[in-house]
C-alpha cells in the first residue's frame, strides 16, 4: 500500500524538514538554558557556602576544633533544611554536623546524601559544598542540597517539554494545512489538465481570486488554453472551409470532364472543355496558393527578414499603378502621402497588402466612386487609410471578413477567393500593425496603424 498522497508531496516533506529544524533549535535553546541555569544555581550555592564558611570561621574566631564544634552544633540546631555541615578531625572522625562524613578534600565537592531529605521525600538528594581546613588539620565542609537546582531543572524541562510539544504540533498542523491548500490548488490544475487531455478543451483552471502565485499560474494557463482553443477552432474552421469551398469547383470540374467524356464532341469542343477544366483547376490552385501564403506569413511571426521600407514610396506606387485601373472603371483614386514614412517591413508583402486593399475598393465600388489612400504620421505610429465611398461593410461583418473564406455575398458569385482580407490581416500582423474597418459615411475606411521604427 502506498502512502497517502499528502505524505508524498514535496510540500509536506518541506514542512517536516522545517518542523524538524525548528524542533532542533528549540532543543538547542533548551540545552543552553538548562546548562546556563544549572551553572548559575551552582555558582549561587558556591557563593552561599563560601559566605557560610567565612561566617563560621569568624564565629569560631579561628580557634581550635572545639570552638568549631560548638559553633557547628549551634548552627546545626538552627540550620534551615537543606543546609549541611560536617566537622572532622584529622583522623576523619565526624565531630559535629548533620550529614555523613566526607573525604577531607579542600575545595568544591558534591555527594549523594545518605539521609533521606524531608524536603523531597522519596528521592536521594545531592549536596554540593566546599571543604576547608580549620584549626590546624581539622576539616570543615558546608554544603547545600541541590533541591533548588532540581526544582529549577524540572521547571525548565517541563516548560520546554510543553513548548516542544506545542512547536511540533503547530509545525505539523500548519504544514498539513498549508500542504492541503497548496495541494488543492495543484490538484485543481492537474485535474483540469487531465480533463483537457481527455478531450474537453472547454475546461479552465479555477481562479480563486486571491491574486497569489497560484492565481497567476491559473490565469496564465487559462490564457494559454484560450489561445490554443482559438487556434484549434480556427484550424477546424479552416479545414472544414477548405473542404466546403473546394468541393463546389471540384464537383463542377468533375461534371465537366464527365460530360466531355460521355458526349461525342468534336476535337475542338473537347479542347474547349479541357481548357475550361484547366481554368477550374487553376482557380482551385489559386485558393491553395493563397491559403499557403497566409499560413506561411502567419508562421513567420518573428520579425526576421524585415528591413526599413519607405512606406511613402510603396503607397505612391500603389496610387500610380491603380490610378489607370480605377479610371478605366470610371472611378477616381486619390493619393495623399507625406514623404519619408519609414516602417520596418517586408518589401514584397507590403505592396501586396496595399494592392489587396486598393483592389478591394476598386472591385467592390461602382463607377463614379472615389477611393483615397492617405497616410499620416501620428505620435505613436503611422496611420494609413484606404477608403472609398461605396456600399461599405455592415458593422456585424467587420470582424468576420477577416476570416478565411468569409464572403458577404453568400452566393459567391464574384471572383474572390474570400481570402484577400485574411491575407491582409496576416501581413498586417507580421508588421505589428493594427487593422480596423471603419464607416466612411458612406463607404468603407480600412485603417492600418504601423508602429514607430524604434517601438518594435
Amino acid at each position: 500500500m502506498s502512502l497517502p498522497r499528502i505524505f508524498r508531496t514535496s510540500i509536506f516533506r518541506l514542512t517536516l524538514l522545517y518542523a524538524g529544524l525548528f524542533s532542533l533549535s528549540v532543543l538547542v535553546l533548551f540545552v543552553a538554558i538548562f546548562w546556563f541555569g544549572s551553572g548559575y544555581v551552582e555558582s549561587q550555592i558556591d557563593q552561599s557556602v563560601t559566605n557560610e564558611l567565612a561566617e563560621i570561621q569568624s564565629r569560631a574566631a579561628f580557634g581550635d576544633l572545639d570552638h568549631y564544634r560548638e559553633v557547628i552544633d549551634s548552627y546545626v540546631e538552627r540550620a534551615p533544611s537543606g543546609v549541611y555541615y560536617v566537622l572532622e578531625n584529622s583522623g576523619g572522625e565526624v565531630l559535629a554536623g548533620n550529614m555523613q562524613g566526607v573525604e577531607p578534600v579542600v575545595g568544591i565537592q558534591s555527594f549523594a546524601l545518605k539521609v533521606p531529605s524531608e524536603r523531597h521525600p522519596g528521592e536521594v538528594l545531592g549536596v554540593r559544598g566546599r571543604g576547608i581546613q580549620v584549626a590546624g588539620d581539622g576539616y570543615l565542609y558546608v554544603g547545600l542540597d541541590n533541591f533548588e537546582l532540581i526544582k529549577m531543572r524540572e521547571m525548565i524541562a517541563g516548560f520546554f517539554l510543553w513548548g516542544f510539544a506545542a512547536t511540533i504540533s503547530l509545525a505539523i498542523m500548519g504544514g498539513f494545512l498549508m500542504s492541503q491548500s497548496l495541494l488543492r490548488s495543484v490538484e485543481a490544475i492537474s485535474s483540469t489538465s487531465r480533463e483537457i487531455v481527455a478531450g474537453d478543451l472547454s475546461q479552465r483552471v479555477p481562479v480563486r481570486g486571491v491574486g497569489d502565485e497560484f492565481d497567476h499560474l491559473a490565469s496564465s494557463l487559462n490564457t494559454m488554453l484560450d489561445r490554443i482553443t482559438g487556434l484549434m477552432e480556427s484550424m477546424r474552421q479552416v479545414s472544414s472551409d477548405i473542404a466546403h469551398d473546394l468541393r463546389t469547383p471540384l464537383s463542377r470540374l468533375r461534371q465537366r470532364l464527365e460530360l466531355a467524356r460521355r458526349r461525342e464532341d468534336s476535337v475542338e469542343q473537347l479542347h474547349e472543355a479541357l481548357d475550361r477544366s484547366i481554368e477550374d483547376v487553376d482557380a482551385i490552385l489559386d485558393t491553395f496558393t493563397a491559403l499557403l501564403r497566409i499560413a506561411q506569413i502567419e508562421a513567420h511571426t518573428n520579425a526576421t527578414g524585415l528591413s526599413h521600407v519607405d512606406l511613402s514610396e510603396v503607397l505612391n506606387e500603389m496610387g500610380e499603378v491603380y490610378q489607370s485601373v480605377a479610371e478605366e472603371r470610371g472611378q477616381r483614386l486619390e493619393v495623399s502621402i507625406p514623404d519619408g514614412l519609414i516602417v520596418l517591413g517586408d518589401r514584397e508583402l507590403l505592396p501586396q497588402l496595399f494592392s489587396n486593399l486598393t483592389e478591394n475598393a476598386i472591385r467592390h465600388c461602382p463607377a463614379g466612386a472615389k477611393i483615397r489612400i492617405d497616410a499620416l504620421r501620428v505620435l505613436d505610429g503611422i496611420v494609413v487609410s484606404v477608403s472609398d465611398n461605396g456600399s461599405g461593410i455592415p458593422p456585424e461583418f467587420r470582424t468576420k471578413v477577416f476570416q478565411r473564406f468569409f464572403q458577404m455575398d453568400s452566393s459567391r458569385t464574384n471572383d474572390g477567393t474570400g481570402l484577400g482580407l485574411s491575407l491582409v490581416a496576416a501581413i498586417a500582423s507580421l508588421h505589428h500593425a493594427s487593422i480596423e474597418l471603419l464607416d466612411n459615411h458612406p463607404g468603407l475606411r480600412v485603417k492600418l496603424k504601423f508602429p514607430l521604427l524604434n517601438a518594435i
Binding site: 499557403l292 499603378v321 489607370s324 485601373v325 501586396q352 494592392s355 483592389e359
Partner: protein
C-alpha cells in the same frame, strides 16, 4: 537551346522535357542534385532548370556551388517552394529567374526563351529599336518614326521590358515581376490596362500595332509580319 533539367520527380521531368522538346529545345535530365552538378560542370548548356528540393544535393547549394566555380550558365529555379523569402533566397544564390509550381506551360516556355536568348542579345547599346519605334534608355525618350511620344515612368519601363525581349513572348507575371515589382497575382487587370494605354500612345494615327497579344500566354512586341 541545350537545356539541362535537374528534377527528381520523373513525371514532372518528363512533362517539362517533352513540352520543351516540342518547342524545339534539346533536353537532358538529371534526377538528383549530385548528378546535376556534375553534368552542369562537364558540358556547356544554354540554360539550367533546377528544382530546389533534390536528393543528394539541394538545388540552392547546387546553384551556389556553380556560381562559386564561375559557371555562368543561366539558371531557372522551378520549384514548389513559393514561401516568403524563398524567391529572394533563390535569386541570391545566383539563379536568374524563379518559377513556382504549379505553372502554366506557356509561362515556362516564355521564361526559358527570355533566359536563353539573353547572352547573345545582350547588346550594350542604350537605344532599343522595333520597326519604326525607338526607345532611348539613357535619354529616357521614345520616338515612333518622327514623332516623339511622352510616356509615364511605368509605361516607359513596360515598353523597355517588352523591347528588350522583342520577338519573344513575355507573360503577364513576367511583366508584373519586372515592371511592377509585384510578386503576387493582383485581382485587377493592371497589366491589360497599362498595355492598352501604351498601345493607344504608340499607335497614334494609323501606324500598325507593334504590341501583339499572344493568346493564353502574354504579349510580344515585334514588327507585324
Amino acid at each position: 537551346m541545350r537545356i539541362l533539367l535537374i528534377e527528381d520527380d520523373p513525371e514532372t521531368a518528363s512533362y517539362v522535357a517533352h513540352g520543351l522538346q516540342d518547342e524545339g529545345h534539346q533536353l537532358n535530365v538529371a534526377l538528383d542534385g549530385r548528378e546535376g552538378l556534375d553534368q552542369a560542370r562537364e558540358n556547356s548548356w544554354d540554360l539550367l532548370i533546377v528544382d530546389r528540393m533534390l536528393p543528394r544535393l539541394d538545388g540552392l547549394t547546387l546553384v551556389k556551388t556553380l556560381r562559386t566555380d564561375d559557371v555562368k550558365t543561366p539558371v531557372l529555379f522551378l520549384t514548389t517552394m513559393g514561401g516568403v523569402g524563398d524567391r529572394v533566397s533563390g535569386l541570391n544564390a545566383g539563379a536568374d529567374d524563379y518559377l513556382v509550381k504549379p505553372f502554366a506551360f506557356a509561362e515556362l516556355v516564355a521564361r526559358v526563351n527570355a533566359l536563353g536568348r539573353r547572352p547573345q542579345e545582350m547588346s550594350l547599346g542604350t537605344v532599343l529599336r522595333v520597326g519604326d519605334l525607338e526607345l532611348d534608355l539613357m535619354g529616357r525618350s521614345v520616338r515612333r518614326g518622327d514623332t516623339s511620344i511622352e510616356l509615364q515612368p511605368r509605361e516607359f519601363r513596360l515598353l523597355a521590358y517588352l523591347m528588350r525581349h522583342a520577338g519573344e513572348t513575355v507573360t503577364r507575371s513576367m511583366l508584373l515581376e519586372n515592371v511592377w515589382d509585384f510578386h503576387f497575382d493582383p485581382r485587377t487587370n493592371i497589366v491589360e490596362t497599362h498595355i492598352s494605354r501604351l498601345r493607344a500612345k504608340l499607335n497614334k494615327g494609323d501606324s500598325p500595332d507593334l504590341i501583339h497579344t499572344v493568346r493564353g500566354a502574354g504579349y510580344s512586341i515585334h514588327e507585324s509580319a
